[in-house]
């Protein structure tokens, strides 16, 4: 990517990050007053994003979908424009919970096609990595709690639904309590994993330039995050709760386990 194009793309990512922040607050608190600001920032981000892509096309002379970074950037812009159209036409607000983080993460990845900077200090490099790892582990912990609640939910739901022998009320939490625990655990985990993705992508870009994104293990991580995003969105917008949410969480735990396993051998990628 050319310098100016990349510059506009990075500025667009900064604007998109406001939308992302709104989405995270919305997921955590189920309400956010940031939406007007986030929407404006998102709009500005989309314009700058378009400028970046036009600039890129003008300079390279070909359609900007030549590699993963360009394709991700284009996909992010199209998603942003589509959302802005849907908002203008139908005023569907909830979709932002899905689109804002997706567009931000795709744009961020595109903007990391070349390293932001070089490590000035080894301690900063290590601390950054520690932050990423801690966020991932905290996210997994939240997911683990959510998974336990999901299994408990499925067992209880089956007992009540099939009218099997019921446990004493005092012995097990109510279905609604378990469902709320699933919802809260899910959103807390999503916020932590999203922040971990942002921290990890930035770190990897500085560490190894553009080659990090080609590793299938990284792609598995991003796919897991995408699944997480879909799950949080479906719960918030389509009201997916109870059994569906519990099954989704268990599926996500499977993906996360795969990601975990993949990451245990990541060191080879970054080895000198």
């Amino acid at each position: 990517m050319q310098e100016m194009s990349l510059f506009w793309l990075r500025v667009a990512a900064v604007f998109y990050s406001v939308g992302m922040l709104h989405a995270l607050v919305l997921a955590l608190r189920r309400a956010s007053r940031l939406f007007p600001v986030a929407l404006t920032a998102f709009g500005v981000g989309a314009i700058l994003h378009a400028v970046s892509i036009i600039e890129q096309t003008r300079l390279t002379g070909h359609f900007p979908a030549n590699n993963f970074f360009e394709s991700a950037s284009l996909c992010a812009l199209l998603s942003a424009l589509l959302y802005l159209f849907v908002w203008w036409r139908y005023r569907v607000r909830n979709l932002c919970l899905f689109i804002f983080p997706l567009v931000f993460v795709l744009t961020l990845i595109s903007a990391l096609a070349s390293p932001l900077a070089r490590w000035g200090d080894e301690r900063v490099r290590d601390a950054w990595l520690v932050v990423h790892v801690v966020l991932v582990l905290a996210g997994y912990a939240a997911l683990a709690v959510t998974a336990v609640a999901s299994i408990a939910y499925l067992i209880r739901e089956r007992q009540i639904k099939r009218k099997l022998a019921l446990p004493k009320s005092a012995e097990a939490p109510a279905l609604l309590t378990l469902d709320e625990l699933i919802g809260r655990g899910m959103t807390a985990g999503f916020v932590l994993i999203t922040l971990a993705v942002v921290a990890g992508s930035t770190w990897a870009s500085i560490e190894s330039g553009a080659r990090w994104i080609r590793d299938p293990r990284i792609l598995i991580s991003l796919a897991t995050w995408g699944l997480y995003l879909v799950m949080v969105f479906l719960r918030a917008s389509a009201g997916w709760r109870g059994r569906k949410a519990a099954v989704m969480v268990i599926a996500l735990v499977g993906c996360s386990a795969l990601t975990w396993a993949a990451h245990t051998s990541l060191r080879t990628l970054f080895a000198p």
Binding site: A165, A174, L176, D179, G239, R241, G242, R243
Partner: protein, 421 residues
């Protein structure tokens, strides 16, 4: 000292007889005074509930406490003693203790494990205490009965599972929603069964009740009774997405709620769980509704099945409770018998002390004046001899108190030491 319980309950007497003998709160004081005022009766307790009327007394050995209670009941309630006799049961001593423990632990109740009886027994005890009718043996047994009931409840969990259709519905609602305070309940059809279920839900903390019925007058009556809100019958479907619990008991000969309707309802409430209690016969809710996610449907048979399962579970736990009670009865009997020998032990100690004092007085003149240290040594010496001597008989007295043939041994010891002189 004798302990006797005479009375009748739901198993021995029909309600017409039980209501004849029942004591109301206001007449209880006078009745207790009358009871303990009768010759030979030292303590008394009257337990009067809708399922039982029982009189417990502690009396001296010279009276027939059962006959006293029968006369008391007949006279106080103006009933012919001969007509009453076939319905009465009588328990004495260890049997009476066992019965009291079983009553307190709700093993003798119509619904085994129901918690009300313990409260009623405690109230009867409080009334007897307030009127000075208890304060010895009977009181000791009653306070022990409360501890036994607590032990039975804790160790067996006998009262934990609901056994009536209405309380089962409430328990299920709690298993789905947890606290019911914030839940909205809609009642479709305002029959007697619905009224009972709503009463249970209300006492479980439900605040917001909506009533709909084809006949507006009946809906209004129920809404007034439970501070509910009337919903027009033609529009109840529109209000359903706001409801967490729906209770149907309408006489409609067709399904009021079908699967497609409920699918729209659950989507409108964004899949928040919903509990449908269909106690109508024929059923008001299509059973296929239970296939929808987050909708939980129980009809009258489902509820009865759960209640039956709980009842079976209670019966199993009752067997364990009976074993606990047997153990407690043995312990209580032993304690009471130990209390019985206390006067003998005290008499023995007094008798030996008399002998010691007499002997000391007799020999004091021969010994001449003694210093304080010598007096102290003499006192310690004689007391020590007596204590060592008395230790054997007193231990035997306590041991024999709990033995079947103990009375004879106690009598022998009394004679040996001339304690009755």
């Amino acid at each position: 000292m004798k302990l006797c319980i005479t009375g009748l309950n739901h198993r021995t007497a029909p309600v017409e007889v039980r209501e004849q003998l029942a004591f109301d709160e206001h007449s209880l004081g006078a009745a207790l005074a009358d009871l303990v005022g009768r010759p030979g009766i030292s303590e008394g307790l009257i337990l009067s509930t809708c399922n039982r009327v029982e009189v417990s007394v502690a009396s001296g050995d010279s009276v027939d406490p059962g006959a006293v209670i029968e006369r008391f009941l007949a006279e106080r309630r103006g009933v012919d003693p001969a007509a009453l006799a076939p319905f009465l049961y009588r328990y004495e001593d260890a049997e009476a203790i066992r019965h009291l423990f079983r009553v307190a632990s709700s093993l003798d109740s119509m619904v085994v494990g129901e918690p009300q009886i313990l409260g009623q027994l405690k109230a009867a005890y409080a009334a007897a205490k307030a009127h000075g009718a208890v304060g010895g043996w009977l009181e000791a047994i009653l306070t022990r009965a409360f501890s036994v009931a607590k032990r039975v409840r804790t160790e067996t969990g006998i009262g934990e599972n609901p056994v009536s259709v209405s309380s089962t519905a409430v328990d299920l609602a709690r298993q789905i929603f947890g606290s019911l305070a914030e839940r909205r309940v809609m009642v479709i059809g305002a029959g007697k069964m619905a009224e009972l279920a709503v009463k249970h839900l209300r006492s479980a903390g439900v605040q917001r009740i909506y009533v709909t019925n084809r006949t507006l007058e009946r809906a209004r009556a129920m809404a007034e009774a439970f501070q509910g809100i009337i919903v027009e019958y033609d529009r109840f479907l529109e209000a359903l997405p706001e409801m967490d619990i729906v209770l149907t008991s309408s006489g409609a000969p067709f399904y009021l709620l079908r699967k497609d309707q409920m699918r729209r309802v659950i989507e409108a409430r964004r899949h928040r769980p919903m509990f449908l209690i269909d106690i109508a016969v024929p059923r008001n809710v299509d059973p296929a509704v239970n296939e929808l996610d987050n909708v939980f449907l129980y009809d009258i048979d489902d509820l009865a099945r759960v209640a039956d399962a709980n009842l079976g579970e209670r019966r199993k736990r009752a067997e364990l409770a009976e074993r606990i009670i047997e153990e407690e009865v043995q312990r209580m009997v032993a304690r009471l018998k130990a209390r019985e020998v206390v006067p003998t032990i005290v008499s023995l100690q007094e008798r030996l002390e008399q002998i010691r004092q007499a002997e000391l007085a007799r020999y004091r003149s021969r010994l001449g004046p003694l210093t304080a240290e010598q007096e102290e040594a003499l006192e310690a010496l004689t007391r020590g001899i007596l204590n060592k001597f008395a230790h054997g008989p007193m231990t035997e007295l306590r041991r024999q108190a709990s033995q079947p043939e103990g009375v004879q041994t106690i009598e022998l010891i009394r004679r040996m030491f001339r304690l009755d002189d």
